[in-house]
């Protein structure tokens, strides 16, 4: 028994080892590189010339564009995550009912998730175009409008469309998560509640919500991170134009790095984004892990 003890102490780490190796080598090392770059002077061609402390950060924070871009990023993340979570939840509730072709409908709902984001964004850009867009053609053929509508007259309108596309591709993921959760809830809970005279809403809030809540929080946290860092939708539709009005941190730093040759500042922007996400995630971790221990 005594012999076994040292092994028992290291055993968990052995189980973790493959995963740790995989992530350390392929992700943590590149992340370390980002930190290094953010504190280095980098030539326009991309070569690191030396340590420069926090110069890149002060340069980024001084510009007025950064505030605008940060504001956009928060609006983008909150809007996409909140709306797609709520809508995805409702959709899952609906799809959990029995109706004809349910299986087909469920498969169709996954479509937007199965197509790459670049293509999804490309199609929507094509759909909403004023001059040759499919939406105007459709509405004109149906007779709802008589002349083409400019769906994107302002940068704000563009941004709203981008948020719509973001929601469109995120909903399947949420629906998928909630749906598989709903299906595993034992029917006896509902039967008991019906006997007790509970109405639909009471059942929803007392039984359904608590039971899918935790699966929803995991998917929501990951969603926040993915949406915050999402690149293809905005890049394909507007490239952050005009003049950064539709930029988020990721498209902004992409332009800094690859269009302006400022890799150091780009890395600084991504570190700032990381810190913001860290703050949000640690709040979540503290709350959810504490609950789990209770």
């Amino acid at each position: 028994m005594k012999k076994k003890k040292p092994f028992a102490a290291v055993e968990p780490y052995l189980w973790l080892l493959p995963s740790i190796l995989l992530m350390t080598v392929f992700i943590l090392f590149p992340i370390f590189e980002v930190f290094r770059t953010s504190m280095s002077e980098v030539s326009k061609a991309g070569l690191i010339k030396g340590f420069c402390g926090l110069d890149n950060f002060t340069k980024v924070l001084r510009g007025s564009t950064f505030k605008l871009v940060l504001h956009n990023t928060i609006v983008w993340t909150v809007a996409v995550v909140v709306i797609s979570t709520v809508f995805g939840f409702i959709l899952a509730l609906v799809l959990n009912n029995k109706f004809r072709c349910r299986k087909a409908v469920r498969a169709i709902v996954v479509f937007p998730w199965a197509t790459s984001l670049i293509i999804q964004a490309g199609v929507w850009k094509f759909i909403i175009d004023k001059d040759y867009g499919a939406l105007n053609t459709l509405l004109m053929k149906i007779g709802l409008i008589s002349s083409p509508v400019n769906w994107t007259p302002t940068p704000q309108a563009y941004f709203a469309w981008e948020i719509f596309v973001g929601i469109f591709v995120t909903v399947p993921f949420v629906t998928f998560c909630v749906l598989s959760g709903l299906q595993s809830i034992d029917n006896s809970y509902y039967e008991a509640a019906t006997v007790d005279g509970a109405n639909y809403w009471q059942k929803l809030f007392k039984i359904t919500l608590p039971l899918v809540k935790s699966s929803l929080t995991v998917s929501t946290v990951l969603n926040i991170i993915y949406v915050f860092n999402s690149f293809p939708i905005i890049w394909t539709i507007t490239k952050g134009d005009p003049a950064s009005r539709t930029d988020t941190l990721v498209t902004y730093l992409y332009k800094l790095a690859f269009y302006k040759g400022k890799s150091g500042e780009a890395a600084a922007v991504s570190v700032i984004g990381f810190l913001i996400l860290c703050l949000c995630a640690s709040i979540y971790m503290v709350v959810s892990l504490r609950k789990e221990e209770e």
Binding site: W15, N97, F274, L289
Partner: protein
């Protein structure tokens, strides 16, 4: 009377339900309808001022042409290798980690879970330089193996969190009984726990597969040999300097969506319960 109103209410609810479902299906399929009809149009018709819903002349040829304009079948195979391989590795590495996190007590558990989340916090675009550096150290810059590992690593977070939740939701008693019977931890895991945890594993599987199938940025930077390109990167050939060949881009994208849908339909029935158990304790 009461019964009557309830019946009417029921009918109205049913109608609303169907209307809602139909609306969702229409909106979801609309972009695919646009992709499909655009793929069969000539460029002149795509941009015509007198827009058409359906092509005047169906150019079915476009769907055929893409297979000769680019080594599309080669790209398909590459994507399958990358998505399949990284799914396999992500699950194989994720299962033991999730098991340890669910069943064992040890120092640094929370830190590890935190690091797993942190690994997701940088957009791949930002990590390119570092990824390339590590890949050239291993001589994997222009190889599918490199892509397999990267995608597996990027999807570790979801796999671990999901599987950990699944395992926690399953009572450890059965494994304990098996261990007492002289069965090692590893074989108890494989024989007892994994079959019960199948829905969670299937969910993780489809998630990783879809993400790896659609990954673009890293593949673009790492792969330089044409015959090694996955589908997402390969079809950028239709996105030239002179023009975007919408018809070809959409036609090939439609083909690219098919494998994922097939996979989903095939394993959908195993999904039941996968994600809830991911969070809810049993």
């Amino acid at each position: 009377m009461n019964n009557h109103t309830r019946g009417t209410k029921h009918v109205i609810l049913r109608v609303l339900l169907y209307l809602f479902v139909i609306l969702v299906v229409l909106v979801t399929l609309y972009p695919y309808f646009v992709m499909f009809t655009t793929a069969a149009k000539s460029r002149a018709e795509i941009y015509s001022t007198d827009g058409t819903l359906l092509p005047i002349h169906w150019l079915w040829q476009n769907f055929k042409d893409i297979w000769t304009l680019a080594p599309l079948s080669r790209y398909f195979i590459n994507s399958l290798i990358v998505a399949g391989g990284s799914t396999l590795i992500a699950i194989i590495c994720g299962i033991p980690a999730a098991y340890a996190l669910a069943r064992m007590k040890f120092k640094g558990k929370k830190i590890f879970l935190g690091i797993v989340i942190i690994s997701q916090m940088f957009a791949p675009v930002v990590l390119l330089v570092g990824i390339y550096k590590i890949m050239s150290t291993f001589g994997m810059t222009d190889s599918l193996v490199g892509l397999v590992f990267i995608n597996a690593a990027f999807n570790q977070a979801f796999a671990i969190w999901l599987l950990r939740g699944t395992f926690i939701s399953i009572s450890p008693e059965m494994e304990q009984a098996a261990t007492v019977d002289g069965c090692g931890k590893v074989s108890a895991l494989i024989r007892i726990l994994l079959p019960v945890a199948a829905p969670g594993i299937v969910t993780a599987l489809i998630f990783v597969f879809i993400n790896a199938w659609n990954e673009y940025t890293v593949a673009l930077t790492l792969i330089s040999t044409d015959v090694l390109k996955p589908l997402t990167v390969g079809i950028t050939i239709f996105n030239g300097y002179n023009m975007v060949e919408w018809q070809y881009l959409f036609a090939s994208s439609l083909f690219a969506t098919v494998p994922v849908i097939i996979l989903f339909v095939l394993i959908e029935k195993h999904l039941v319960g996968g994600l809830t158990s991911g969070g809810v304790k049993g």
